[in-house]
Symmetry: C2
Subunit: 369 residues, 2 copies
């Protein structure tokens, strides 16, 4: 997508040196736009663990390029298979909870292990990583096109700007391009459908205000940042036509784990008769789970995320301020579960389906258990 009018992916091969992988440094956004060079698997590991890259699809592709970089740096031609197996384990440990990372690393390892020489392995890894990257883009685009149809239908009925509320960042920064929740919005905008996005700030890490708003601004999509408390009021007053969010994990019965606060917006949408969509690639569906609230473990994160707020001082310097009184206890749950009864439909790379077991299994018979 566009940044200052120029097209970017979140990760790419250096145009003049294919031994360097480049990524957008997401820790600096939106205050600074920096590109980071990765030249070793250690660089890839740090990029993932320090959240220079984030979002399941992007983490997975970064891991795959990490395998390529590891092979480039391999000095023991005769034992490259043992070497890369060990390095793969290292890369997988960069964020152990993101299942996507391990899956993509395994996918790239498979053809690499069948190579006879290290030179071949490097070539194969390079092409496989590019292939995995392209697949992520393709999935995002498909989600975008299916979701765009929904937006277009609302527009055709309403005849004026479609107001869409989103929570957190399920944007192209979390993917390679297009995003998941944002993909339908970008597709609709490029098709000339007038859209306006209500961007939930998304405390405590503020991915909505920091990343989604920045993405939308760079793509010239009309949008308004709101505190997370605001969506219910907007829905009561007819100022929201639909909600679209992403998902970190979805049960086969259609319960959706997503950034904390998603459930509250789904309740408000339901209470006001507003459709609530979840955009997700099938890789986030856990076909072994049937009860989201009971079975999906919710990560508790560091209290510092609530305690400190990062931003720019009047001087222009980026700094952090402590926003709670000394000595107060803080709890920081990362996700919540929206029960399927509150989800209008899932928007996947294979099409739109209702959030229930029958429809999900019908759309993904090959993935069902």
């Amino acid at each position: 997508m566009n940044i200052k009018g120029r097209n970017y992916h979140t990760i790419w091969v250096h145009p003049e040196n294919d031994k360097i992988i480049q990524v957008i440094d997401q820790t600096a956004l939106p205050f600074d736009f920096k590109i980071k060079n990765l030249t070793s698997e250690k660089d890839a590991y740090i990029a993932i663990s320090d959240m220079i890259v984030r979002g399941a699809p992007l983490i997975g592709v970064t891991g795959a390029y990490g395998i390529y970089l590891a092979l480039l740096n391999c000095r023991d031609e005769n034992n490259f298979r043992e070497y890369i197996t060990e390095r793969a384990g290292y890369l997988k440990s960069a964020r152990p909870t993101a299942v996507n990372l391990a899956i993509l690393i395994d996918e790239i390892l498979d053809p690499v292990m069948q190579c006879n020489t290290l030179t071949d392995a490097v070539k194969v890894a390079f092409h496989k990583a590019a292939e995995l990257k392209e697949r992520e883009i393709e999935w995002s685009e498909k989600i975008g096109n299916f979701g765009c149809n929904i937006i277009e239908e609302i527009y055709n009925n309403k005849g004026e700007t479609v107001n869409i509320l989103t929570h957190c960042n399920a944007g192209w920064l979390a993917c390679i391009d297009w995003g998941t929740a944002t993909a339908p919005i970008y597709k609709a905008a490029r098709k000339g459908i007038p859209v306006h996005v209500w961007v939930d700030e998304t405390r405590p890490r503020n991915q909505g205000a920091r990343l989604t708003a920045w993405e939308l601004k760079e793509e010239d999509i009309p949008h308004t940042i709101i505190s997370d408390n605001t969506g219910g009021h907007l829905m009561q007053h007819g100022m929201v036509d639909m909600c679209i969010v992403g998902s970190d994990r979805t049960t086969v019965t259609g319960d959706v784990a997503n950034k904390i606060g998603t459930y509250l917006k789904a309740l408000a949408a339901h209470d006001n008769g507003i459709p609530f969509y979840v955009a997700l690639p099938s890789s986030t569906i856990d076909f072994s789970l049937t009860d989201g609230i009971g079975q999906i473990p919710i990560e508790q994160r560091a209290p510092e995320e609530v305690m400190w707020m990062e931003g720019k001082l009047k001087s222009g310097k980026t700094d952090q301020v402590k926003i709670v009184p000394d000595g107060c206890k803080i709890a920081n749950y990362g996700f919540d579960v929206t029960p399927s009864r509150l989800v209008t439909a899932l928007i996947t790379e294979r099409g739109i389906c209702s959030a229930n077991r029958k429809n999900i299994e019908q759309l993904f018979p090959d993935l069902s258990l």
Copy 2:
């Protein structure tokens, strides 16, 4: 209530000089504890307009003491009635939307205008202001005692710590003592009932994290600060036994306008079968309104409140950081309306009543239209 073990009100007469009124400077909390001296009606005006004092009951009493200070400073004994009438208009304009301010100023003006001499008027104003202050404390205590019975009942059924979620600051800092939503909590704690309070941060002005958490900490009430997104998850997992919030305006039919985000918590409470109480003095009931969502105008506030965050730098200095990208639009609605169907009951100074017209009018026949 207690601050560092010493008992305070939010406003009081200087113990050694009754020409000085003292208030806690709430703009400095929780980072600094400062006391401000008011020696003129201009000081009172600034204290109200700059939010050194805040909360309808406290604003009203500060306005009343402003009348006393104005009379103290009156230099024209023969025309003190004209003088004080003009000064009353000035004081009322400090925050024109807070109806409480105008009401209390009119209440103190009434006996003042009947005085024959300025000396008498000063004395009468001094005593009337103290009387109005005492009435606010009495109302808070009554709300506290009625609400405490609810907490005690939950405790008797549960047999362990009662977990209470609150939003914003309807605490003693907004009143003179005890608070509204917090009064039942303080009363329960002093009765030995084990309570724990989930404190919503309350973006964008963070009155929960800044004021409610600070109040509770100083009173040694166990509490945990959470982002506003968190309450739904806690309720899904049985970690909340009841919610108590305050109200800025309540319709005669029981719809409640309160800090933005209250509606989302009420929805989550309803979805999880958790009682949702609103604590309010009868002065916030607008007996002329029957439809909260349709009739209560919702104030839009400055985008800067969402854009900038105040806190302490690592150096210990208080400063602000800008937390949104440059050039993004922001909306900042101050309140939302919780429909009466989501309110379990109202806790008032006359007792507990259901959130419907019949019960509200039964409890307040003298105030009904």
